[in-house]
Amino acid sequence: MLRLSNIHAGYGYSEVLKGINLELNAREIVTLLGANGAGKTTTLLTIAGVVQPQSGKIFWNNAPLIASSPDEVLSHGICLSPEGRHIFPRLTVLENLLIGAYRMPSSHHQTKLDRVYNYFPLLAERKNQLGGTLSGGEQQMLAIARALMSEPKLLLLDEPSLGLAPQIVARIFEIIKAINREGIPILLVEQNAREALRIANRGYVLVTGQIVLSDTAENLLASDEVRRAYLGES
């Protein structure tokens, strides 16, 4: 579905991605692993149109994805839930969600809301609360829910477990799995490699802007190299 071919990208003169080749098939969860500064987030931002690739091509449904800004990428059905959640703290949960459905006609809002509340019953309870008053885990749920409101055909999740308690992380990963079961492919960037590999189908390991390893999630979980580098086992 999504294919990155030899992508080079970066900020200003510093090149972060040095030729990324990556593929994501329908109904898959693919995770990007790597140390800080390896280029995981930049990969997502490049797909989402926030960062423009310096060279290389992105293919979406076998056609080159040409977009100069995130809103154009979203019109192709690729939605990014950015790192650090970026919810609107001074708007209510409901308003946050409605902004997620910005491109949808308002007659569709209710069905979308119902669907999202189905995944996140907690948000339905708190719909009148301001986004900033939610706990970290709830804010992350809101960020994912908001991304879902746009009916994405591909969901890009950047560090959904950032700064959350292990129990909440487990719940969020369950929900991610459930969303994927409905048929939405997910590209997941995670520091929490163990949890990510547990729900993912495949994984890529990035080191300084290059993919050094790609395999199925089970193999990566079992591989000594990954265990040592990312799972903290000796």
Binding site: L74, F88, L94, E95, L98, Y102, S106, S150
Partner: protein
């Protein structure tokens, strides 16, 4: 409800108490002895308070409008098609009466009050227009008076070349050209935020003021006046001023409706999202560039129309209209009333325009300084500082939250 009423009455009494020495007393200088004596001046105090009651009535009405949460259930499919009219019908039941009262004020207000009413309407329109950029979209525009002056000069110039040009012919063009100017000014500002944007818009306004103050075409320092043929034609049976008042009021109503409509539409939601978090707004599919430019353009267009109304009222315009103080006064209205709050900024306009006007009559203040209005900016500054400390969201802070929820669930 009752706490609000109580606060309102307490506020009124408090103001009466604080202002007592300034308004009810006047100074008498005894030439024989050289002493200054204070004399109680009832008539004066009563007059001031009857004036102030008007201001408070306006405040009370705007507060009632602001806090009314009347919402319709739009879920029926037939009703849903009429939903664009929501801002028109989702009002307290007395709104139509209010509109009639405000319009018919043209018949029972005296000449001076009508003039105040016209200018108040124009300031309310300006505050509403500036609120789009500052309040909704979070773009700090400091040179709004330039758009105001642009509209006025545009009409004044056009009627020189097209003799007998009437305002109803001109106003769509003024709106469109004003919007175009806003769009053009907005373009280089897109990469800027906060203070930097304020500086650029301020620079634009200052250079615009210098330009119109030095071009022969625009009458340089002297300014331009409206020829008799282009002035407002009185409705039969009314004076010109009464007609002008009605025109201003109708414009105010239409602009108010349009802005409420915009605010509740996806465009309004996009503006607020940009204000809250530009990165997130962009990744949620909002075209930030277009929406910012749209905010600039609509805001500037409304400012230009207000300028046209101003020259219809005063029939004369000079470069002082584009002065920095004008921009600051409009900004102060928006901040005082409450950024992003539609009725709030109207309230800010009412307070900051009417109270200095009423104070102009104050006997004691005139004894001390005949040019009380010279101190306006000083007082505005003090009010702004006090507001930032005590109530940063403004008198009627944005009510968006409760508002949207009732409407969309």
């Amino acid at each position: 409800m009752f706490t609000r009423l109580r606060n309102y009455i307490l506020g009124f009494l408090g103001l009466a108490f604080i202002t007592f020495p300034f308004l009810w007393l006047s100074l008498k200088y005894n030439y024989a002895t050289g002493n200054v004596a204070t004399v109680l001046n009832w008539a004066h105090g009563v007059k001031f308070f009857s004036n102030l009651t008007v201001a408070f009535a306006i405040v009370a009405i705007l507060m009632a409008l602001h806090y009314s949460n009347k919402k319709w259930n739009w879920s029926h499919p037939i009703l849903l098609t009429l939903r664009p009219l929501a801002p028109l019908v989702e009002q307290p039941w007395w709104t139509p009466f209010l509109m009639v009262v405000v319009l018919s004020a043209a018949f029972y207000l005296d000449h001076k009050s009508l003039g105040l009413g016209c200018m108040l309407g124009i300031y309310m329109i300006l505050a509403l227009g500036l609120n789009i950029t500052i309040g909704f979209t979070g773009l700090l525009v400091l040179g709004y008076a330039a758009f105001y002056a642009f509209g006025a000069y545009l009409f004044a110039l056009a009627q020189q070349y097209i003799p007998g040009l009437q305002w109803w012919v001109a106003f769509p063009f003024i709106f469109v050209l004003g919007s175009a100017l806003g769009w053009v000014i907005g373009l280089p500002c897109l990469r800027l935020r906060g203070d930097y944007l304020a500086i650029v818009t301020l620079g634009f306004a200052e250079s615009f003021k210098e330009l119109i103050g030095n071009l022969n075409l625009t009458g340089s320092d002297i300014g331009l006046s409206l020829s008799a043929r282009s002035m407002v034609k009185a409705i039969p049976g009314l004076t010109v001023l009464q007609t002008t008042y009605i025109i201003v009021t109708v414009f105010l109503f239409v602009i108010l409706f349009a802005i409420r409509r915009l605010y509740l539409s996806p465009i309004g939601r996009a503006w607020v999202a940009i204000r809250e978090d530009e990165v997130a707004a962009n990744s949620m599919g909002i075209d930030v560039v277009r929406m910012k430019l749209l905010a600039f353009a609509i805001s500037a267009g409304i400012g230009a129309v207000a300028g046209m109304l101003f020259i219809l009222y005063s029939s004369y315009i000079n470069p002082a209209t584009a002065a920095f103080e004008q921009s600051v006064i409009i900004l102060a209205m928006v901040v005082l009333g409450g950024l992003g709050s539609i009725y709030g900024v109207m309230l800010g306009a009412a307070l900051l325009y009417l109270i200095p006007e009423f104070l102009r009559d104050s006997q004691l203040i005139q004894d001390f300084s005949p040019n009380f209005s010279d101190y306006r900016l000083l007082i505005f500054g003090a009010i702004m500082v006090a507001m930032m400390l005590l109530r940063p969201q403004g008198l009627l802070g944005s009510h968006r939250h409760k508002h949207e929820i009732k409407r969309d669930t």
